[in-house]
Amino acid sequence: MARGVDEGTEYLETLPRRLLTLYLPLGLMLFFLFFPFYWMATTTFKPDAELYDYEHFNPFWVAHPTLEHIKKLLFETSYPDWMLNTLIVSVSATTISLFSSVLAAYAVERLRYTGSRYVGMAIFLAYLVPPSILFIPLATMVFKLGLFDSDLALILTYPTFLIPFCTWLLMGYFRTIPYELEECALIDGASRWQILTRITLPLSVPGLISAGIFAFTLSWNEFIYALTFISSSENKTVPVGAITELVEGDVYHWGSLMAAALIGSIPVVILYSFFVEYYVSALTGAVKE
């Protein structure tokens, strides 16, 4: 962790002043950022009687925790199917994207074939094309290819936003690996493929993890393609299923909805908690040139 702004002069600040200018606003900000999760979690474990009765129960606390909502979600809806679909789609799309990106990034950054600079530029531009303007033409393509309502439709379209991101990130990462290492290997008679698999990739494991978990989270969170290309209930992903299937008419089962939100977030949060540093470096690497 780098040094803070005022580290050298921080001793000049008195405690009351720090309380007012630092801890208080930081506390408020963290409260704002954290409250929805707290609310999600308490709602999940509240029985219906408490959920809709603010007079007799303090809404901020769970008096009689219950697993009723989670049970209903797991055994009376297609939720487990959605989890499995999301997992299959995310893992496949991430794998395809990582494989393609490693090769592309290595070619652009290290093989430096003719025109590689322009290809690098094009990949950056591809990274800026939002799904919101692609989903309509993609929907017609998915229809024509007969992929509508299948996992494959998502596995093939998710790489359109994952590959540019991963390639961009890995290009930045490969640039930090000393060129001399590759030259040494070349002199020792290694082929390009050996250099990539024996030298460059082992050295870029942190970059690969960053790109991988970020790509996984992006696919887990994807919504508009999954909403457009999937129609039958059991083929949906968690975000789409939660928003389209759990509401029956005008009846909102808030307990199960919150349970769906909470459980659907857990896989990415667990992954994130193990790899916070990698995630942050993917995030900051994504905005670096």
Partner: protein
Amino acid sequence: MTVQVQANAAPVHRRRGASRIADGRELLGVSFMIPTGVILLVFLAYPLGLGFWLGVTDTKIGEAGRFVGLANFRSLMHDPVFWLSVFNTTFYTVVASVAKFALGLYLALLLNHRLPFKALIRAFVLLPFVVPTVLSAIAFWWIYDSQFSIISWVLIKLGLIHSYIDFLGQPWNARWSVIVANVWRGIPFVAITLLAGLQTISPSLYEAAMLDGATPWQRFRFVTLPMLSPIIAVVMTFSVLLTFTDFQLIYALTRGGPINATHLMATLSFQRAITGGNLGEGAAIADAMVPFLLAAILFSYFGLQRRRWQQGSRD
């Protein structure tokens, strides 16, 4: 064999052109590009072009379209709902981006102090960004419920209001509510990336400024901001891009209602194209977003240029 010996014997500066192809770099480079190239050309470049083509046809779901010229765009010109969505998108993007920037920068500055459990706090700050947008939007949906909103309940208990607020049922309430949810999700991204930028600023600059008698505001205005401006340009371009093309938050919270008050261009194009079946018209709305995106990309590009120039790189 002979060829190899000759190539090895050739002076270093002549190892270009023909022998470069011989050592397989060009061929290998192109073959390494195949997976990425195929996927991006088929599923990104082609649909991008197809989108423009669909915009000038009257294609409907299950029905091939005919070329109709600019008819879709002409009818959109006289469509009050389309113009309302343009207004909503602009309002949503401007207000949410300004708020995300201000609060995100503030949070980054706070996190840049020496703090106990700093790594842990930083990990928690990023959570709203990690959790799937739609799932956190469901939490906001519940927080904004017209009968059981916790916000209304607290405000009534505090005696500030007398009846429950209809957050998502009134046009302006709904607009502000979705903006708050968007800002909530966007702050972590801005804060964490700007924090990374802040940490690269040398503390000696601040010490020098303090010795010269600069006030905290002056230190922020004349040291922090100029040092941070390249990364601010990039971060805000991304943030504007994502906000302008936002879809999921609106779809989850309001689906564009009440009476189209929160329809963004993306949600309107989904409604017309997929729900309504008019693919051509929906594609035309999506196309109408492109000029703005191009402006954002150019902005980003020049932001990057400036950054390179500051680093003294020739590239």
